[in-house]
Amino acid sequence: MIRIQNLNYAVGNFALQDVSLHVEPGEYFVLLGATGSGKTLLIESLCGLNRIDSGRISIDGVDVTAVEPRRRGIGYVPQDYALFSHKTVRENVRFGVKLQPSADRERLSIDDDPPEKTVMEMVGVSHLAKRSIRGLSGGERQRVALARALAIRPRVLLLDEPVSALDEQTRDTICRELKRLQRDSHTTTVHVCHNFAEMLTLADRVGIIDSGRILQTGTPQEILQRPVSARVAQFVRAGNLLTANAKSAGRRVELTCDGGLRLTAAVADPPAPDGKVTVMLRPENIQLGAAVPENVAADTTVIEAAVRDVLDFGPTVKVTVAVDATVELHVSLGKKEYNIHPINTGEHVFLTVAPEDVHVMPQ
């Protein structure tokens, strides 16, 4: 549906470098990156609001690299919405409809209703139609901006940080609605955000962008469990990242971490090279017990440690343990699990890590 090939675009001392990306029809694609990573620049390039230096952008099989924004068939919701404050809500939503060629305008109408009416109902802002933009709340503004973008029935919906300006409760509601709207209308959507939980809630697939480069694309679970680099692992809150020396031994990799901790990992596909590597242990993949566990499977690592800190976050309890003077590990327990075996600061515990849960990345 959307295919970006080797896009390069420099502005000031920042550049999008060799960006390639592919979004399937009907997919909800989230572009995750920190402030200044270039994610807004990439969305703007998709809109045709930047003349890119090199590369190709195609939408629906058509090369749109040199096509004006108004002919790309995109619905764009920019950061802070950019609603036209000199117009009413209805006029805002109608803005794009009036500008479509008259043949298209008929296509947009359903049951003889003007298209802005249909879309305002769908998004739930009909009751605001005659209001001015100034009095609207953040959530209402977001909905109106969405309605304005959807009113021209775009082939692709591009959302730039659509909920970042909202407070937490509104954010949850709007996210759920976005997902529902997108499922119902099957509109291919690219959603730019910097919030990890937001990404997990919405994304069919994700792209991680950093310093103008795409680091990894995949499903949320792929990114979460199998990040390709330490940089991506930091993005997805890996929890425990260790530097280690790797040595392959058959179907296993022996790891000696800085500080002396030894771990055994399963060989990844493709296998990581021997030598200096970064190791990720997700806090939820570490088992924690008060005694040496019985019947430990072969190659499972058992580590003795002292509990440093226990923080109750409600659904999860975050336990920080010291393996030795230099290495601390975070372990995440479900609330119910914790309630059955509560753990206190100062206790001695044993950690078990299966080789499949030790993820090795090149450094």
């Binding site: 703007e44 108004r70 619905g75 764009y76 920019p78 950019a82 036209f84 021209i152």
Partner: protein, 277 residues
């Protein structure tokens, strides 16, 4: 947006001791001195006049023609000024081109330049340089003509409008036009449908600034178009002539009329400018 805690103009009032109070008093003392001095000056002058002086201004043939000349020339100047200031303000705000900073500075020059210098430059240009003389003979006469008044006023005042309107467009996020373009507008369509209506208050302010500056200039006009009563004498010229040769009360009355106009202009700029935020 309108929440008081987020407003930039919020001023805290910390708990302060005697020294803090003395400090505030001395800072505010300068404000009081300046404002009382300025208002006192005008108040004393007004007290010196009677209503008769104002009616003598309106009865004087020379003043009536000067007022009329001032009105129509400044209206034309303001119109031409805005015709330039709107596209120029927009272009300077939205487009970057080689030499942008230089061009931007050159446009500021008439703001900082003594108006007298511009009048003299025009005089020399149209009488002494080849290009100027050719224009004078073959295209249009400016010197000693009402159209010369407009030219002079335009050169001296247009930059005020350009500056104000550029700042207005600077304050309008280009995203508004970007969204309009994704919704079907051309670049020009986005300007006319979105940027221009959003800038309307800034344009009013720009127009008033051009008009106020245009109505007040005197030295360059005296040099470039002369001071013939009934022909090229605008209101400031008439006031000057009346001061040196005639009735100082009438001159003062006319000057206070200009003060009143300036006050009205200022109030409009303030009210419109505040509403813009």
């Amino acid at each position: 947006m309108s929440h008081p805690l987020l407003s930039e103009t919020r001023t805290a009032s910390p708990v302060i001791g005697i020294r803090g109070r003395l400090f505030a008093a001395s800072m505010l003392g300068f404000v009081a001195l300046f404002v009382v001095g300025l208002v006192g000056l005008f108040a004393a002058d007004i007290s010196y006049l009677d209503a008769d002086a104002f009616s003598r201004v309106l009865r004087s043939e020379d003043f009536r023609s000067a007022i009329w000349l001032s009105i129509w020339t400044t209206v034309v100047t303001t119109a031409i000024g805005l015709l330039f200031a709107i596209p120029m303000g927009y272009a300077l705000s939205r487009y970057r081109f080689p030499g942008h900073a230089l061009v931007d500075s050159i446009i500021d020059l008439p703001i900082i330049l003594p108006p007298l210098v511009l009048g003299l430059s025009l005089l020399v240009f149209f009488f002494q340089t080849f290009v100027g003389r050719w224009i004078h003979s073959n295209v249009i006469e400016f010197a000693l003509q009402p159209q010369g008044i407009v030219l002079c006023q335009f050169l001296v005042s247009a930059s005020f409008g350009i500056r104000a309107i550029k700042l207005t467009f600077d304050g309008i996020d280009p995203r508004f036009e970007h969204v309009a373009m994704t919704l079907g507008c051309t670049r020009g369509g986005a300007f006319f449908r979105v940027a221009l209506p959003m800038a309307r208050r800034g344009i009013v302010v720009g127009g008033i600034l051009i008009w106020t500056r245009a109505v007040g200039i005197y030295a360059p006009l005296q040099i470039f178009v002369g001071d013939v009563p009934g022909e090229t004498a605008v209101l400031p010229t008439a006031i000057f002539l009346e001061t040196s040769t005639g009735d100082i009360e009438v001159a003062l009355a006319a000057a206070l009329l200009m003060l009143a106009m300036a006050t009205v202009a200022l109030v409009i700029v303030r009210v419109v400018g505040l509403a813009q935020r």
